[in-house]
């Protein structure tokens, strides 16, 4: 019977091609607008490290208070050197790392090749296992290199390609700004989005993967400045040391904790540390600390761009208008066939049969709208670079899930829209229709 209803549907739709086209267009545009913006939204609101996002935590300590007319009650987003080193020294977490972005010039061994810039992080050995950095060759440097301030480096696949032609370069050396470093490992291309471990400096999205990592302790010895933000509140003494021990915040501190109980213990520890600083007279405000896991931190920092949210909501509103439009057109279409329905009902068709017939017809409009929507979505995703930053736009892609979702939303939405017109159609009184003719 369903096949018969589908055939009837095709006939009926072909009888008013303009009206049918209008409905298909409305559904197609509505679905495409929603799906395109959803593709972006999905890309920017994704979990960058799903299996560990509940185990990685970002501690914050308020080292500014309300000094110098500051009004915010939140601790600064980044950490100062003094506190980071104190936390690092006690090492209360399973793993911990502190890092800051660096921009370095690499001088190739070949004197004919031009020097080039790479960006990456000065960090601790725990960075690599904590954030699950994949390696092509070698691995993280040993923790002893951190304490010895050793000249070691981890480089990316791309840098390895440029310097060593892609071969296993572990153990070889590389010249960074006139200093030699031994290569401990080569990572595969790794660029989690959002870049949760460095929201402070990237805003969450960085187009280019990090290319180099060197020990934090070594970078501080060499006075390598941060490539990212440096925020100060109050006066800073002159010189590198003066800045290092100031209350300027510029570091990203992360810890790995196995479970909620450990997180609670760590938060207590942060609280106790801040209380101790208050007693020592460094803070003249009560302890104000935070401990966010990855997803909480991304939400706290509003990583999902405003554009993405606003356009998703506007597009959903647009879809609703398209559906209201479809309800109206289907109503017109179905009610025009009241005499036909009357005849079918008089010949013994139940209300259920009428329901099935008209919902099948609506579902076909939905499928056609979905196919059109799919084409428009594909075009939309291609053209999305016009609206969003290229580093965000490139994250949005059409995949199986999106295709399935687009078709599903189109059919589902159309069938929902068809319920009221169908209900009206099913209520047609056969006697009345037959009489009037």
């Amino acid at each position: 019977m369903l096949a018969y209803y589908l055939r009837l549907g095709v006939r009926s739709l072909r009888r008013n091609p303009m009206l049918t086209l209008l409905m298909v267009l409305a559904i197609g545009f509505g679905v495409a607008a929603s799906m395109t913006t959803y593709a972006v939204f999905r890309a920017v609101s994704g979990n960058p490290i799903p299996d560990k996002s509940a185990k990685l935590f970002k501690p914050q300590i308020d080292n500014w208070g309300h000094a110098n007319g500051r009004t915010s009650d939140d601790p600064p987003d980044a950490m100062d050197y003094t506190d980071a080193m104190a936390l690092m020294k006690t090492g209360k977490a399973t793993r911990q790392t502190v890092s800051y972005p660096v921009g370095l010039s690499v001088i190739p061994a070949n004197p004919k090749a031009k020097p080039f810039n790479v960006t990456g992080y000065a960090t601790y050995a725990d960075f690599f296992p904590m954030f699950e950095v994949p390696f092509q060759y070698g691995g993280a440097w040993p923790a002893s290199d951190d304490t010895q301030h050793a000249p070691v480096a981890v480089i990316s696949e791309k840098v390895n390609q440029r310097l060593f032609g892609g071969g296993n370069s572990v153990g070889r050396s590389i010249d960074i700004e006139g200093h030699r470093y031994r290569i401990a490992g080569v990572t595969r291309t790794w660029n989690p989005q959002p870049r949760f471990f460095d929201v402070n400096n990237t805003g969450g999205f960085a187009p280019d993967p990090p290319e180099i990592w060197i020990p934090f302790t070594r970078a501080v010895d060499l006075q390598i400045p941060t490539w990212g933000n440096n925020n100060c509140n109050g006066n800073v003494s002159p010189g590198w040391k003066g800045w290092l021990y100031s209350e300027c915040v510029w570091l990203s501190y992360w810890v790995e904790l196995p479970d909620a109980a450990a997180a609670a213990r760590y938060k207590n520890y942060l609280h106790a540390y801040a209380a101790q600083q208050q007693q020592a007279g460094r803070f003249d405000w009560p302890p104000n600390v935070r401990l966010h896991n990855v997803t909480e931190w991304l939400a706290d920092q509003h990583v999902v761009p405003q554009e993405s949210q606003v356009s998703l909501f506007v597009a959903l509103g647009f879809l609703v208008v398209c559906l209201v439009n479809t309800i109206g057109l289907l109503l017109a279409k179905f009610m025009r066939r009241a005499p036909e329905i009357g005849v079918r009902r008089a010949l013994g068709a139940s209300r259920g049969e009428v329901y099935r017939q008209f919902l099948a017809e609506a579902a076909m409009v939905g499928v056609a709208g979905g196919v059109l929507g799919l084409l428009l979505t594909a075009g939309g995703v291609l053209g999305i670079g016009m609206v969003f930053d290229p580093d965000i736009a490139r994250l949005a892609r059409v995949d199986v899930t999106l295709v399935a979702l687009t078709l599903l939303v189109a059919v589902f939405a159309t069938v929902i829209a068809a319920f009221y017109p169908t209900w009206r159609a099913a209520r047609v009184q056969p006697a009345w229709q037959l009489k009037s003719n």
Partner: protein, 407 residues
């Protein structure tokens, strides 16, 4: 035209009437807010940066293998190279420029140290060539003297004896006017305002700096860091040539440097495009959504009204037979649409305000102005009338003889 018969006719088409009204209401709410977003973005991206963008190039240069303290002579040599190039008007080195979306900000105070209220300002490193290079207009005081320009190591405290500020900053600090000669504080030591320029936008174009986007300070200091930005002003028609010649001349004078291939050399026109990309994109997206939405709403009205006309052919025939003119039939449908439209826009205005209220809370947008809502109301009413015109014309052409037929 009598309204009463129309209302009683509409009572027989409750569902269709409500659907059109709801569609008009939703469309109005979305279009008003979308147009408002467009207007805000366009205002944002048409602000002037205060510099002579059409003739400016920024070169991001990184010296390789040098200590910060050895940079002075390198910078001087590079600036000489750039200023000597034929076609170049002037050049200087700085930490950042307008339209770059990154730089230094600090609080400026009328009292030393951390005492006193602080006014936010962006810090631009500058020398005696800066005003000429950027094309800034001095409205009071004087330019820096060459002797006042000094090197600044990255972690030195910044408190130069002289500064030049923008008019926006001067007005904020000294509402009484006359800022030249007054002292301001970046740290413990005073800086004398020696000049005031008409306008120089801060490096950030949106978000956090939007309340003080004109408050900039020029300091007569050269930042001794491995990376520097050279700003070059060129003569008319020389932009393309210098864009290639400047980095080539720098590399020829000293190879130990990095000027990135992709964004190492940029014209200020490109920088403006890049930095406002989101704003322009958002405006385009909203514009497209508005157009498609209006189109779909119009098409919906055409569809439903056509159906009504088809359904009422017999009644129309009867009215015509009883003496109604074509004009009467036409104006019947136009008035009917107007009634539905007015109901729709009344709901739509409430919805638009609600949506704006919510956007204000969730995304810190501004309150929508009544002008936009009023504009949206007029657009939708006109759209409704235009959409109904074709089916109404068809209705008016229904001949009176239809009344005598049974089917």
């Amino acid at each position: 035209m009598q309204i009463k018969p129309i209302l009683s006719a509409l009572r027989h088409h409750k569902a269709g009437t409500i659907l059109i009204a709801v569609q008009i209401a939703l469309t109005l709410a979305i279009v008003c807010n979308a147009l408002f977003i467009i207007q805000q973005r366009v205002t944002q991206l048409s602000r002037s940066s205060g510099v002579d963008e059409a003739h400016l190039i920024r070169i991001q240069n990184q010296w390789v293998g040098t200590d910060d303290k050895d940079i002075g002579p390198l910078m001087k040599a590079d600036l000489d190279t750039l200023r000597r190039l034929p076609g170049v008007v002037d050049a200087y080195a700085t930490n950042t420029t307008p339209l770059s979306n990154g730089g230094w900000s600090t609080g400026m105070s009328l009292k030393p140290g951390s005492k006193g209220e602080r006014t936010m300002t962006a810090i631009y490193f500058a020398d005696n060539h800066t005003l000429n290079t950027l094309g800034l207009k001095l409205v009071a005081g004087r330019n820096f003297h060459a002797s006042e320009v000094a090197p600044h190591m990255p972690h030195d405290t910044l408190q130069p004896p002289q500064v030049i500020v923008t008019k926006a900053l001067a007005d904020k600090l000294f509402p009484g006017g006359q800022a030249v000669g007054k002292s301001v504080y970046l740290g413990d030591k005073p800086s004398i305002i020696v000049g005031v320029v008409a306008r120089l936008q801060v490096p950030w174009v949106g978000g956090w700096a939007s309340n003080w986007e004109g408050q900039s300070t020029l300091v007569p200091r050269q930042l001794m860091m491995g990376g520097a930005n050279f700003v070059v002003r060129v003569k008319d028609g020389q932009l393309g040539k210098i864009e290639r010649a400047a980095p080539a001349a720098l590399l020829a004078s000293d190879r130990m440097r990095v000027i990135a291939d992709d964004h190492g050399v940029m014209t200020f026109t490109q920088m403006r495009q890049d930095v406002y990309k989101r704003d322009r994109g958002m405006a385009i997206l909203m514009g497209v959504i508005c157009l498609v939405l209006l189109g779909i709403t119009a098409a919906g009205i055409v569809g439903l009204t056509s159906f009504w006309v088809g359904q009422r052919r017999k009644q129309i025939g009867v009215r015509r037979a009883l003496g109604a003119t074509r004009h009467d039939i036409l104006s019947y449908f136009l008035t009917e649409n107007l009634l539905i439209g007015v109901t729709g826009v009344v709901m739509g205005v409430l919805l638009a305000m609600g949506m704006n209220q919510w956007l204000m809370q969730a995304f810190e947008m501004q309150r929508i102005s009544w002008l936009w809502v009023a504009g949206g109301v007029i657009v939708l009413l006109l759209l409704g009338q235009a959409a109904v015109l074709a089916p109404a014309m068809r209705a008016s052409r229904v001949p009176p003889v239809v009344a005598t037929r049974t089917v």
